[in-house]
């Protein structure tokens, strides 16, 4: 299948960020897929953790970019511009997931986008009530932190560990996961995350903390 003529002859293989501030280059949509599709997909996949949805977002990104390509000012590179559009789409997904799924019975969780099937916020909160003694706030014996013995490991070097981490992340309630992911993914300022996901600043760190509590407990539980 032939693509329309390759006008530039440029190698289409670079996911590299070619910032070219020298001139107001015009976007060249005929090259987009060859140049940027893999890069965008690689950006979306770990953030979304859903192959189907990641592909959809790549497609939507290009189509949205096409619609506003007149607004592309060449101040940033094409790849930066496209990534920014994709990023907004990812945030939309977070927002949808975190608002839509609260109060939905667990059985119906795998819906529309099919992405997260995590726990309900209420269940997750109940779960962590067991971590501490209701009277004095001590760790209960069953949930006391235990040294994993792998504290020095790089999880990426350690397949088992990274698989476990993923599984435990997926168990978090959608809102918690969204907040947690946004925080650790791009070091988004807290104000931005609060605004995008409509949480108050004081709720924000409580959510991060609770997500951490459950995540740590889950890791410990699956490790022993």
């Amino acid at each position: 299948m032939q693509r329309e003529k390759n006008t530039t002859g440029a190698a289409p293989d670079g996911p590299s960020d070619q910032s070219d501030p020298s001139e107001n280059r015009l976007p060249d949509p005929h090259q987009w897929v060859a140049k940027y599709a893999d890069m965008l997909y690689a950006y979306a996949l770990p953030r979304i953790n859903d192959d189907e949805l990641a592909r959809d977002l790549v497609q939507e990104t290009f189509l949205a970019a096409l619609e506003r390509k007149d607004k592309f000012e060449g101040r940033s590179s094409e790849s930066t511009w496209l990534t920014a559009i994709l990023k907004n789409k990812i945030i939309d997904v977070y927002r949808k997931n975190s608002s839509g799924l609260r109060g939905v019975p667990p059985g119906l969780r795998k819906n529309s986008s099919g992405s997260w099937s995590g726990t309900e916020v209420a269940d997750a909160e109940r779960e962590q009530q067991e971590f501490f003694d209701p009277k004095d706030g001590h760790w209960t014996v069953a949930h006391q932190p235990r040294a994993l013995g792998i504290e020095a490991q790089d999880p990426l070097m350690h397949k088992e560990l990274s698989g476990m981490l993923k599984k435990c992340l997926d168990k978090l309630p959608a809102l918690w996961l969204s907040v947690f992911t946004m925080k650790h993914m791009d070091d988004q300022p807290s104000e931005v995350i609060c605004r995008e996901l409509k949480v108050t600043p004081s709720n924000f760190w409580v959510i991060i903390h609770r997500a951490k509590l459950n995540l740590r407990a889950c890791i410990q539980k699956s490790w022993f």
Partner: protein, 92 residues
């Protein structure tokens, strides 16, 4: 003072402060409370270490470049470029 005493023995509260400390600054009082608690509580000391570690793990996981196999397949790409080209023709 009674309140301070309560926190010294309260792990739930201590873990909250550990979480808060990693995001924003603690007040002087909170720093004091947490410091005293940690001196006497090895579980919360371990929790703090693991909490920092988990941040690093999650970051590593999210920023990991996907393995070389995670590319879009050619068919998907061809179809996608076709859609883009069609849409552009439609605009002209």
């Amino acid at each position: 003072m009674k309140k301070l005493k309560a926190i010294i023995y309260n792990c739930r509260r201590a873990t909250e402060l550990i979480g808060k400390k990693q995001l924003t600054a603690l007040t002087l009082r909170e720093r004091l409370e947490l410091g005293i608690h940690l001196i006497g509580c090895s579980f919360c000391r371990l929790f703090q270490r693991q909490s920092i570690l988990i941040n690093r793990w999650v970051r590593g996981l999210l920023h990991a470049t996907p393995p070389a196999g995670t590319k879009l397949d050619d068919y998907f790409k061809e179809e996608l470029q076709k859609r883009i080209d069609e849409k552009m023709r439609g605009e002209k």
